[in-house]
Amino acid sequence: MTETKIDKKLDIKGVVCPYTLVKSKLAVEEMEVGEVLEILLDYPEAAVSIPKAMLNYGHTVLKVEKINSTDWLIRIKKEVED
């Protein structure tokens, strides 16, 4: 499997909804179209709501992975200018 190039990382462990999405959205806004954001989080609801919201914004969800008992890793590819 080829390694995805990560352009930006966001650690929002300890952050709860809706600020998980607020911070993720602001991070995407600052990126260029085509770039990839990797989000590390531990708020279970956000592992569902962030991918859903990012799809609604028009971006691609490359990956949603539970990496240990508490944390998720989400990768978003920015597809459209905000």
């Binding site: 809706p18 607020v22 919201a53 905000d82």
Partner: protein, 266 residues
């Protein structure tokens, strides 16, 4: 400008909206809005724009708060009866959102001060209660090419329109001159349902935010009329009048008219 943690919380429901986002919220924070009148309309407009985080809001009013205002002018209270209305609203808005710079101007707007007062603002809101002031604001906004969100209320009916000079009609395209004094009753004579300015003021604030964000379609070239008794919203098209005395092809109004009629206390 980076958002503080407090601002992220305060504006989170805006930032999440695709049409607003962090970029839009920063536009709102950079905007300067001038509101004429801190009465029935000015209170809800100023209230919501303060909550939205508009950077600078100026309020002009030379009236004092009376008990009879409190049925509809929601920024005032029994604690500010007797206080200048712009000053009273400023206190309320500052308590709501310290991010916003509120400028209270305790003057009557007139043909001599209006151009100077509004020249540094992006958007003007008409929340005045009389025709001379309404026409004065229209003419000044046309001259300075400032977008104007105009609202009016009486009894159970309210109306609003957005005027974008150069892009659409102005108030004089709709009615060339103010009606003669006494023809249209004032709220003092005719009454007004207290919640009505809340409805129209909230719609005016919405128009202001759309203009700041550059999203949606502004209500220019149209008059939106709301009838509270029937719950009807009606839109009437306003054509641009090429012979309009202020925004037409050959304007005859070159300077602002001195209206020194009695002010109707809304």
């Amino acid at each position: 400008m980076d958002f503080t943690e407090e601002q992220l919380q305060r504006y989170s429901r805006h930032i999440i909206l695709p049409e607003v986002g962090g970029k839009g919220q920063k536009k709102i924070a950079g905007a300067k809005v001038f509101i004429v009148g801190a009465g029935g309309l000015g209170c809800p407009v100023g209230y919501y724009l303060t909550a939205a985080g508009v950077g600078t809001i100026a309020l002009i009013d030379n009236d004092r708060v009376e008990l009879s205002n409190l049925q509809r002018q929601i920024a005032h209270s029994v604690n500010t009866v007797g206080v200048n209305k712009a000053e009273s609203a400023k206190k309320t808005f500052e308590a709501l959102n310290p991010d916003v710079e509120i400028i209270a101007i305790k003057e009557r707007i007139n043909n001599k001060n209006i151009l100077d007062l509004i020249k540094d603002y992006d958007i003007i809101v008409d929340g005045s209660d009389n025709f001379p002031t309404r026409y004065l604001i229209n003419d000044a906004c046309v001259m300075l090419k400032k977008p104007l969100v105009s609202g009016a209320i009486l009894r159970f009916e309210g109306q609003l329109t957005t005027i974008i000079p150069g892009e659409g009609p102005c108030y004089r395209c709709l009615f060339e001159d103010p009606p003669p004094p006494g023809l249209v009753p004032s709220c003092q004579e005719a009454g007004v349902l207290g919640v009505l300015p809340g409805v129209i003021g909230a719609l005016q604030a919405t128009e202001v935010l759309k203009l700041i964000l550059g999203k949606g379609k502004p209500l220019n070239g149209q008059l939106l009329i709301y009838d509270a008794l029937t719950s009807n919203f009606r839109k009437v098209k306003i054509p641009k009048n090429p012979k309009c005395p202020i925004c037409g092809d050959n304007p005859t109004i070159k300077e602002l008219t001195d209206y020194s009629e009695e002010y109707c206390a809304l």
